[in-house]
Symmetry: C2
Subunit: 891 residues, 2 copies
């Protein structure tokens, strides 16, 4: 019927590297190496179409498969000059699975297939080593019985262990040929007892057993789950690779090793790798012997005494050097290579793109462009945007000693040391004294913002990756470890304990926000080295991307950081963060205590100049760029105090009784604040608040415009709109203030009024809403909360179970839920633009810095994404990759 | 160009009743009465097309309008035999607006137009009454100046008041002709001072001023707002009616009156109405004189001494009797008629469908079918479904004296008396002793359910129409007054105070849940009289409707009530309500305290038999019908105690420390419980809970099936699904238990597994979800909360402002938001059925009993609605009206 089997070896092959779909990754690369004329042990690949056929036909193989396998086998026999099942000169093969994408959970490998009671003797003769032959045979029985026959591997290990006890032996190497031969007998008895049949002596039965086992492993529960979680279609199927065995353990002229064509940690262009003389691949992995360096340079660099391959096998080494250079030039990427030397002859077993650190990825990508190996697009496509995070924050000196107090979640990257404080006020005070502080809390709330801002790092013992502490810290670019449940915080004694240590206020600790580690004392850190390579890659990315990149920022420091990182404006300035400062909160509270609009106007008039000053500073930094300012969003109760002392202060300022303050606090309490009296609902209830904010914005814009001649374009954003009418009413308020300020200052201010689309209803009614909105910014944090009906603050108790059970692949607050939330974003953007074709559409919130979400935003036709300052470079790169299309490679 | 003016009078007209769009309601009915040959003062209607032309052409009239008006005016002059502006025999006219739908906020009426300094003399001569003429003139100046010229009407009232003070007069009737004549002079001075022009003496200028004022009033802000709130298109426009004046105040052979063709309170088929001799319409309204009855029967029935029209003007009365009979037969509905008798001659001024009570509407509809006047469809279409609510609950005896304590919101209808208790336990205890109790709380929570159930009525001092108390009370059919902020509850002293009274525990109060009144002591009530008419109309409705009607019920009592009211199954049985009973909650709490699945199984095994018994009772009542059971939905913390005493009890039962219990209470607390660890998320985290519930359901179904031979069809419903995978996993659990129970009992149980669609994401992903769901039930309460991002519990603080500002016409928790939430329902239903064409689709929650929402459900193609037991008849009628299409009339 069809062609099911593709041979390779002897400098030719029926497949190619671009036939991954048919041959799997491993098979395609083996074919490619053969075509390049490299020394690849001959073999063949049974294609993925056989897997498909197998499952579509009640687990039966195609009729003509057997014939094709026999022919391919014959070609191997001819090439190697050995016979499969031959007693005198047996051919042994390996059988390996090989899907398009590497897939844990599937049958991996059976080695030494073709051994039986007869052929083992032939192997002994050929190798001149009886012990080697029987050791190989017993390994084969163990491996085959485990993965093909389903016999519990511990039964075999028990036999070996018992024998060691009997003979007083410690290591496998203490056994001789006779020992292994006897154990082979015992192993075969075990197999017969467990399976009811003797261990197969027919080498073809062995082969078909192994082939069947590979195909069956495609549908094991673990494999099915892995595919579902990684979006790998079941229809892809796996291929099977059958290949002549070569042995690196046939004496001192044999060896096995791995090589990288460039240094995977630094990216340096130099052969890098390790090998072992007279060993098999698994010995390198087992770590019983110390691997040796390939090159003299490597050996010297690491101060190793063991001879380099360059010294021991200079000719084979030269051959390897040539081959690796050819492979890298051919694949145009750093290669991770496996090889074996059998009796002085080099064999290539595998080549693939090598994993690398972020630094290395960056350097290689830039170097390869300069070497002319790849173009800029390829370079941009090859660096994992998320890996940049490592480069932008300080990291712990890997060699420095450390004492671990405990571990939490790596909530916001960066390694920082500082003195422990237990409340936001102390943090602010001590930071003002020039001290580096770490704010330690059970959990944080909006009232802690000033302290979080003052601190270098934040540690909480409760809350997940999307808790308040984590989100705010990421937004501010502060290092954060959250949910460190092993640690205990005692506010009364002001102590932090864990790992048998107790740390008091003012004592030093170190956080690593990239790993979640909390350490005693100060651990030395390394500052980020944002080298020329980084800048170069970013520039290339900017030339490719279509999406604009803005930042979420409300402080001058954040705005400056973001501009440094290349932000093209502010996409979200949250005005409420400006309300929490110690000198302002009291006016905010006075405003909340007032009984009517008149009463609210007095404290608001005190807030006007400070809020205006906030904007003046921000606008100076962002001169000439758009700045999207969200008017007050959180429910008012977030601003109210909880302690008696603070309530008394509010009572004094507002001229009310303590009882009245307490009553107001209770009155404003909400069952579900996320869905409560917040966002534009505040603007509707208390238009004077939005009036004050609009005035502050316009007056600041006028002032900075006069001063710099390069005014920002304020984009005033009304939050939490559910109906067009809300926006209509509030736009009237903003426009009226706009007219007043322009007339009073005799200036023309260019500004836009728009809205956040963060409720499902707003997305659905976008056509109406766009009548009053000049821009949309999708607030995908809240849109995710409402679309899923999941409170970010409460999700910790079940999201982990959800991931384990395969319900959610990723945290939808980290990476946008394309199917649900994404559809609403598409609907909103489409309907909005139908009403107003030039509607500016962007996204703000956590997703704006997530590469997968950025790809979605690009595909959905959005105009820009906005993310926290430290995510700006990530977003620039991810946006470029999205523009290039296809999956990102890299990493 | 076109025809703009339509004349009527003298037994003929150019318009008809079905020309409302062109002539407005009033104009069309005046034309229709003319065509019927009834005595209508002649006049003409300027059509709504003129209004449209007016606004499309910069507020200009069509060129040929003036000519057509002149001609029409000439016809009136000929008919009446008087001249417009004639000094000797002046024609006076009224000018009235008349839109398709009656519209407050528009110019209403100018009477006596045509009077000036000359014609007033003619009128005096004609009427033989100089005082009448000048009184009419000054009234005209006042009215015209106010509505046409925009002069502040208080200026005129001031003149009259000052004159009264000067002359020591008290009433207008104390003035004579000379007084009015002098005041006319003063009025004209005021107009000239205010407008800069003299009061128009040219009667044609008067007429065009009034016509223009009507058209301009179409666009006043009040009219615009009213139209937006009532979905009246601006393009409809208004018509203008100009009609010859007739006077009921020209002596004792003149009169004015109103008549209903049937009794609007009882529906009895008998002429009903009132009149006044020598009076104008406004005198009836002003209430200065006591109106007299039309008929002798009416007079006797009300024990009036004043003579009936039947006695005073027998001939005119006979004419009226004939006319009213003709009008009812013609319009096929009870008519509300206005008439005037001028010097012994009857004139018909208006006829329209009359407003009526629910009882009357029901009786008239059924009677008219039996009289052959209308068909059953018309009868069903004519009763306002919501009005049935009045008929299904006890009402206060209207004649009984009452002492008001205060007022709250009419949260759940019904009038009840009972002894006051201040907590749920007392309510349960006293009810068990056979006492009628009213549960009084500041607000209620899920822990109060047993007390709410035991009480006859519920009173809260906080919370809105959709507060917990209100929603639960409506669901249970308990009377409820919520948010009675005037009343004060003191739990410590167990007292309720308001209106100067204080009521202690055990003392009697009366609630009227239909008006929101709270009264001292016991006020006698009347039991609902669900007569044969009611049953008949319901039967007709059932023949017409397509939607199935189910009920939301979890107790036998509710299930019985609902079946009595015609429910065709249970659409929502909330299992958690069964968990709050005093003898169960402790096992629930023990379960929550357990640390692992094993620990939870022990208390769950104690809950199994009681939960099974719940279902057995319910299934017996619902034998043969489908019963949709929602598995546990609320977050676990709702079940945990708050008092130390209760916590200690939980500690004892679960073998934990009090500290551990307290810790668990804190641990489970959520920031936004609505979006928290609830619904199917509990089923995923703790499958053993759903296992127990599924087992209880299946075992009960098996038992009742055996017992009755008529098993229910359990429809097991998984709540709060956001992804298909959640349902897939939990359906596996349910099906597994189903298999076990069927095997163990050796029975076949027909059942379905389905889900609530109550999250936007579920609606969007319905195609996938339907792969595992045999039915969908739209949980529009939660869907509204998430789609709007509004917490029902917290909406009270801004929803009222939202209604006032025209942002929301109706509370979206009461009547479904068709544009937003409705689109998600349509999307969900459509996508679900694309996957599974026989998917059963319904709606449960508050909206299931709201007529407008039911119409939406019908149009969206849903299979059924489910509502609280007392709403079942409303839903049956509303569903029939939806099937009839068009707007409901009635009411």
């Amino acid at each position: 019927m069809g062609k099911w089997v593709y041979g390779f070896g002897d400098g030719k092959a029926e497949g190619r590297a671009d036939m991954r779909e048919l041959l799997g990754g491993k098979g395609a690369n083996l074919a490619e190496m053969s075509n390049l004329g490299l020394p690849v042990p001959p073999g063949f690949t049974i294609s993925t179409e056989v897997c498909t056929h197998f499952y579509e036909n009640g687990q039966k193989f195609p009729d003509d498969l057997e014939g094709q396998v026999e022919e391919a086998l014959k070609r191997i026999e001819q090439s190697v000059g050995a016979g499969f099942g031959s007693r005198s000169n047996p051919l042994l093969v390996s059988v390996r699975s090989g899907a398009r994408a590497s897939m844990p959970g599937m049958m991996d490998t059976v080695l030494n297939l073709g051994l039986n009671d007869d052929t083992v003797e032939g192997l002994a003769t050929q190798a001149g080593d009886r012990r080697f032959a029987f050791d190989s045979y017993r390994r084969f029985i163990q491996m085959y019985s485990d993965v093909v026959l389903g016999v519990d591997h511990s039964l075999f290990e028990e036999v070996i262990e018992n024998r060691k006890l009997e003979q007083g032996a410690y290591l496998d190497t203490d056994f001789d040929a006779g020992d292994w031969q006897e154990m082979v007998g015992q192993f075969k008895q075990i197999v017969e007892a467990e399976t009811g049949s003797p261990f197969p002596q027919d080498v073809r039965a062995q082969l078909w057993g192994a082939i069947g086992a590979v195909f069956k492993s495609w549908m094991t529960p673990r494999a099915v789950t892995y595919r579902r979680l990684n979006d790998i279609p079941e229809s892809w199927g796996t291929a099977v690779n059958v290949q002549a065995m070569v042995f690196g353990n046939m004496g001192d002229d044999s060896a096995t090793g791995v090589a990288f064509t460039r240094n995977p940690s630094t990216g340096e262009r130099r052969l890098y790798g390790e090998y072992l003389v007279n060993a098999q691949g698994e010995d390198v992995v087992a770590g019983i012997r110390t691997p040796q360096h390939l090159t003299i340079a490597g050996k010297q660099e690491h101060g190793s005494d063991l001879p380099a391959m360059e010294e021991v096998m200079p000719e084979v080494f030269q051959q390897l050097v040539e081959i690796q250079a050819r492979l890298e030039a051919h694949y145009r990427d750093m290669q991770d290579i496996e090889f074996t030397v059998q009796k002085g002859r080099l064999w290539m077993l595998q080549t693939r793109s090598g994993k690398r650190t972020a630094t290395a990825a960056l350097k290689m990508a830039v170097d390869m462009v300069e070497e002319g190996l790849i173009d800029r697009e390829a370079a941009v496509g090859r660096v994992d945007p998320m890996s940049l995070d490592q480069l932008l924050h300080p990291t712990l000196d890997p060699d420095a000693p450390r004492t671990l107090l405990g571990r939490g979640l790596p909530a916001s990257p960066g390694a920082v040391s500082g003195q422990v404080v237990f409340n936001a006020d102390d943090a602010e005070r001590m930071a003002a004294d020039g001290k580096d502080v770490i704010l330690v809390r059970v959990e944080t709330s909006p009232e802690d913002i000033h302290g979080m801002h003052a601190a270098r790092g934040i540690l909480t013992t409760r809350g997940g990756m999307t808790s308040h502490a984590a989100v705010v810290a990421r937004g501010m670019g502060r290092a954060c470890v959250s949910g460190a449940g092993e640690l205990r915080v005692d506010y009364k004694t002001e102590t932090l304990s864990g790992g048998g240590h107790t740390v008091g206020k003012g004592e030093l600790i170190t956080l690593d926000g990239s790993t979640g580690e909390v350490m005693l004392g100060e651990v030395p850190t390394r500052q980020p080295n944002v080298s020329g390579d980084f800048a170069k890659l970013m520039e290339w990315a900017d030339q490719i991307r279509r999406l604009g990149i803005r930042t979420n920022a409300e402080t001058p420091r954040d705005a400056e950081t973001a501009r440094k990182f290349g932000a093209e404006g502010i996409g979200l300035c949250r005005t409420e963060h400006m309300f929490f400062d110690a000198d302002r909160i009291i006016s905010v509270r006075e405003m909340i205590m007032a009984e009517d609009a008149e009463g609210r106007r007095r404290p608001l008039s005190k807030l006007l100049p400070v809020q205006r000053q906030d904007f003046v500073e921000l606008f100076r930094i962002m001169a000439g760029l758009p700045v999207t300012i969200r008017l007050l969003d959180p429910p008012l109760h977030e601003f109210l105090p909880h302690s008696d002392e603070e309530m008394r202060e509010v009572a004094t300022v507002s001229g009310k009784s303590l009882e009245a303050v307490r009553h107001r606090v209770i009155q404003l309490r909400e069952a579900n604040p996320m869905l409560g009296h917040r966002g534009c609902r505040l603007g509707i209830s208390y238009p004077e608040i939005y009036e004050m904010q609009a005035r502050a914005i316009f007056e600041a814009a006028a002032e900075v415009g006069r001063e710099t001649g390069n005014p920002v374009i304020p984009e005033i954003m009304i939050p939490l709109v559910a109906t067009a009418r809300e926006l209509e009413l509030l736009k009237e308020v903003v426009d009226r203030i706009g007219r007043e300020v322009q007339e009073a200052n005799n200036v023309k201010i260019d500004y836009l009024v728009g809205t956040m689309i963060e409720l499902p209803r707003a997305a659905l009614r976008a056509a109406e809403i766009a009548r009053f909105a000049e821009f949309f910014s999708f607030g995908t944090n809240d849109l995710t909360q409402t679309t899923f009906g999941i409170s970010r603050d409460d999700a910790g108790s079940f999201l982990e179970t959800y991931r384990q059970r395969g319900i959610l692949e990723k945290d939808p607050f980290v990476s946008i839920d394309v199917d649900g939330v994404g559809e609403l974003v598409s609907i909103g953007s489409e309907r909005g633009r139908r009403t107003r074709p030039d509607l500016k559409v962007g996204i703000c919130g956590e997703h704006g810095g997530d590469p997968a979400s950025i790809r979605f935003c690009h595909e959905a036709g959005l105009d820009y994404v906005s993310c926290s300052p430290y995510r700006v470079p990530i977003a620039r790169l991810a946006a470029a990759q999205a523009a290039l299309g296809g999956e990102r490679s890299g990493g």
